[in-house]
Amino acid sequence: MKTLAMLLALAAASPAAAQTLAVTHAEAWTMETGDPVKDATILIENGKIVSVTPGGGVPQGATVIDARGKPVTPGLMNAATQVGLVEVNSASATRDVGSADDRNPGFDPARALNGNSTLVDLIRADGITRALVYPAQSRHPVFAGEPVIARYRDGVDILESREAAVFAVIGGGAWDRLGSRAQQWTVLRKALTDAKIAVAARDAGEKDKKDRLGPPSGRGRRAGEDLIRGVLAGEMPLAIQTNRESDILQATQLAADFSIRVVIVEGAEAWRVADRLAAAKIPVVLDPSVNLPGSFDELGARQDNAAILTRAGVPVAFGLAGGKIHQTYNAGMALREGAGLAVANGLPYIEALRAVTVNPQTIWGKAGGGTLAAGADADLVVWDGDPLEPSTSAVSVIIEGRQASTRSRQDVLAERYRDAR
């Protein structure tokens, strides 16, 4: 149907990439205020937003996308998925989600990212332009590795940045080799303590021998526990995937004891300690749709988790949305559906939009990202309706100021069999 139009639009847009792109008649959710700018003209140049102006004019020669009064939002960000690291879950040769190397505590999934994945085409078609791509559990408890930021532009290279965090997993039965979660916390604390001692020793004058400790934090490519020095230096957060109230409090205590930034991932029972998290300025990346406890750690799972946390002042972003198959295979659709569910369960609409735009970018290291402010990255989506309704589709997805493909393998198959009788 719209395929031909899309291709033509793409053909038109590509050579004009360095030129001006104008989205007209947009209901522009700039995320700078709580309300959209009506009938906005959004001007884009060199991959950046130039302006958002009500009824604004279009410069000569600009490529125009008419939004027809429909919503335009910043490109959405999934705050925790594995799109780009896996093709077919049951085909291990296509799964690059985790390290099986028990000699090395670190795992940097950046070199495995695959922009040619059919999952990338689908997540982009669903209006998601960025994600935190997190590693699966390693063989080196309690660490999984270092998540990366993917930007789902066309083409094979979807890596935006590395080392967005150090990712740890703690919970009931999470690590066979450690047993009790008490031991899991001990291992995490020991890693932080060892790193702290090492850094202190270096700073205490062993400057000649500092090579022995590897490059100083912030430079070079380090891995695993070594990267924890970056956490201690405040360069990146420690992401802890955990659910139970007692573990979330442990994480809060850990953050205070080591003066580090912590992000709770999953956090099914985070709502129970919303005030404590707010006071400690610990954000939560959560699945807004979960209301059934997959494990005893999640007994408190409820769909107003995000509403309660947000009301208390905890920054919330959505990820892992839909659980099971959806958190990867429908990481775009499930993210929007989950955000809609959060609204249905008391989260103000604009906060739900923030939880899939501004908040994930801020939490994972790009403060100021996820808006349509002048100078912001020109990643935006023109929708055919409310983006939080699962029945809404992305009409145009613009990434780095270019119109990107919104055609997935599913579209191609459906078109082939469209007239099967």
């Binding site: 093709e87 408190g300 198959i325 579209d411």
Partner: protein, 455 residues
């Protein structure tokens, strides 16, 4: 031969219930109809009411704007505009929508019970997997009614669920249909009067089981199909021996005879077009009809085949990709099948997704729109109400808002295909099963009682 047995089995059933001894050819098929686990479901005390001025989707393709529904004595009495009130409670439904209660034909509630623990990993109740043939099992003997999945479903407008055994065995056994009401046993929830359901599976799941060196079963697609045919042939031979007084009871073979006699309806777990076609051929060979292909991610490639065999497709909107046989799923499957004249319905296979089957329908319809197939709400609602009722053999009782039907219905806060909409009021058999406006709020399973849970 199968046809003859079907004709005779009705008369023989009573005799056989009383005296399960070898008998005539007609009698041999009858045990399949007998129910060793009778329902103890009690019709609730009715809450008569007149719901006023709603958008009504009747489940069968009809739509009334500003319409009323009169519910009395557990039944739908009338739908229409400006109905006279015979003196019952009135509910102002202006701006809200009314549909039949949602029917999910594929859950594992009560057997895949969260929170999952070690015992579920070692020996799950989802299916009996000691053999590829579990035709003798009845899933209801495993169902834990304290699964909070039932409550979550009810609160989201689900009024009927079919609990199926899992897809590891080729013949996985009998299903049970329940209402998501609180009871100490599954029989307090059990729905009778429909078709006795049964689960079969093809493709990757059963062949993977056979592929495990510790297991004795077929390990290829062709092996699975051959196993099915041989099992039906053996059941036929058994039926003859039984008729001749040369064989005693055999629960597995009785079930397969019941399938061939049309007394037991098959729900087939199958993904690929080729797999679906293979099993449809087996069904044809042995003279029975398959009720629905579940998952059916490639059904959209072969609508004619499903139409010709009178078989429905029970699909997701958007599960895809996680294994090889699920590669070609498309979100537009349901609208493509609908347009081709195939009976299609949404199903969940998940206590989480089962809470939002109408949203699943909305996703599918939206994907249809992307390729130029429009599906209006009054048709979409068939996918979660009257079509699943048909599969369960309950199409003259539930799934449609028509006079005389059981009053299983939902008053939604808005358009049921919107993510923001909630089930305000859920009636089962004309009684309030869930009222969002009234404390104490959500129904609580015994499991949740006294724990620091979500409530």
């Amino acid at each position: 031969m199968a046809k003859n047995m079907a004709l005779g089995s009705g008369l023989a059933a009573i005799t056989l219930l009383a005296a399960p001894v070898p008998g005539t050819a007609q009698q041999a098929a009858a045990p399949a109809r007998a129910d060793p686990f009778p329902s103890n479901y009690r019709t609730p005390r009715p809450d008569d009411m007149l719901l006023r001025n709603a958008t009504i989707l009747d489940g069968a393709g009809g739509r009334i704007e500003g319409g009323d529904v009169l519910v009395r004595g557990g039944k739908i009495v009338a739908t229409g505009k400006a109905l006279a009130n015979p003196g019952v409670r009135e509910v102002d439904a202006k701006g809200r929508w009314i549909t039949p209660g949602v029917i999910d034909v594929h859950t594992h509630n009560g057997t895949f019970v969260v929170p999952l623990t070690d015992i579920d990993r070692e020996s799950s109740d989802v299916a009996e997997t000691s053999s590829p043939n579990g035709a003798d099992t009845w899933i209801e003997t495993a169902v834990n009614p304290q699964d909070m999945g039932f409550d979550r479903g009810l609160m989201n407008g689900v009024t009927t669920m079919q609990i199926l055994p899992g897809s590891t065995p080729i013949f996985a056994g009998r299903s049970v249909v329940v209402k998501p009401v609180r009871g100490a046993t599954v029989w307090d929830m059990k729905v009778t009067g429909g078709a006795q359901g049964f689960k079969m599976a093809c493709g990757e799941n059963p062949k993977s089981w056979g592929g495990d060196k510790d297991n004795d079963g077929p390990n290829s697609r062709q092996g699975v199909i051959a196993y099915m045919r041989q099992a039906f042939l053996d059941a036929q031979a058994y039926g003859r021996d039984r008729a001749a007084g040369k064989a005693g009871r055999d629960l597995k073979k009785e079930a397969l005879l019941g399938i061939m006699a049309g007394d037991i309806r098959v729900n087939l777990h199958c993904y690929r077009a080729n797999d679906i076609a293979s099993v449809l051929a087996v069904a044809k060979e042995f003279g029975f009809k398959i009720g629905a292909i579940h998952h059916a991610t490639e059904a959209y490639k072969i609508p004619g085949l499903l139409r010709a065999s009178g078989t429905c497709a029970a699909v997701w909107a958007d599960w895809w990709g996680f294994k090889m046989e699920a590669q070609d799923a498309v979100r537009a499957g349901a609208p493509m099948l609908e347009r081709a004249g195939v009976c299609v319905m949404m199903h969940s296979d998940s206590a989480a997704d089962g809470q939002r089957l109408n949203i699943t329908a909305a996703k599918a319809a939206a994907a249809g729109r992307r390729i130029g197939i429009e599906t209006p709400p009054e048709v979409m609602i068939k996918w979660t109400t009257s079509n699943p009722a048909k599969l369960l053999g309950l199409e003259s009782r539930v799934g449609t808002l028509k006079p005389g039907y059981q009053a299983d219905l939902v008053l939604w806060s808005g358009n049921p295909f919107s993510i923001y909409t909630k089930a305000d009021l859920v009636l089962i058999d004309g009684a309030v099963a869930w009222d969002r406006s009234k404390p104490p709020g959500a129904p609580v399973s015994d499991f949740e009682l006294g724990r620091k849970g979500a409530q």
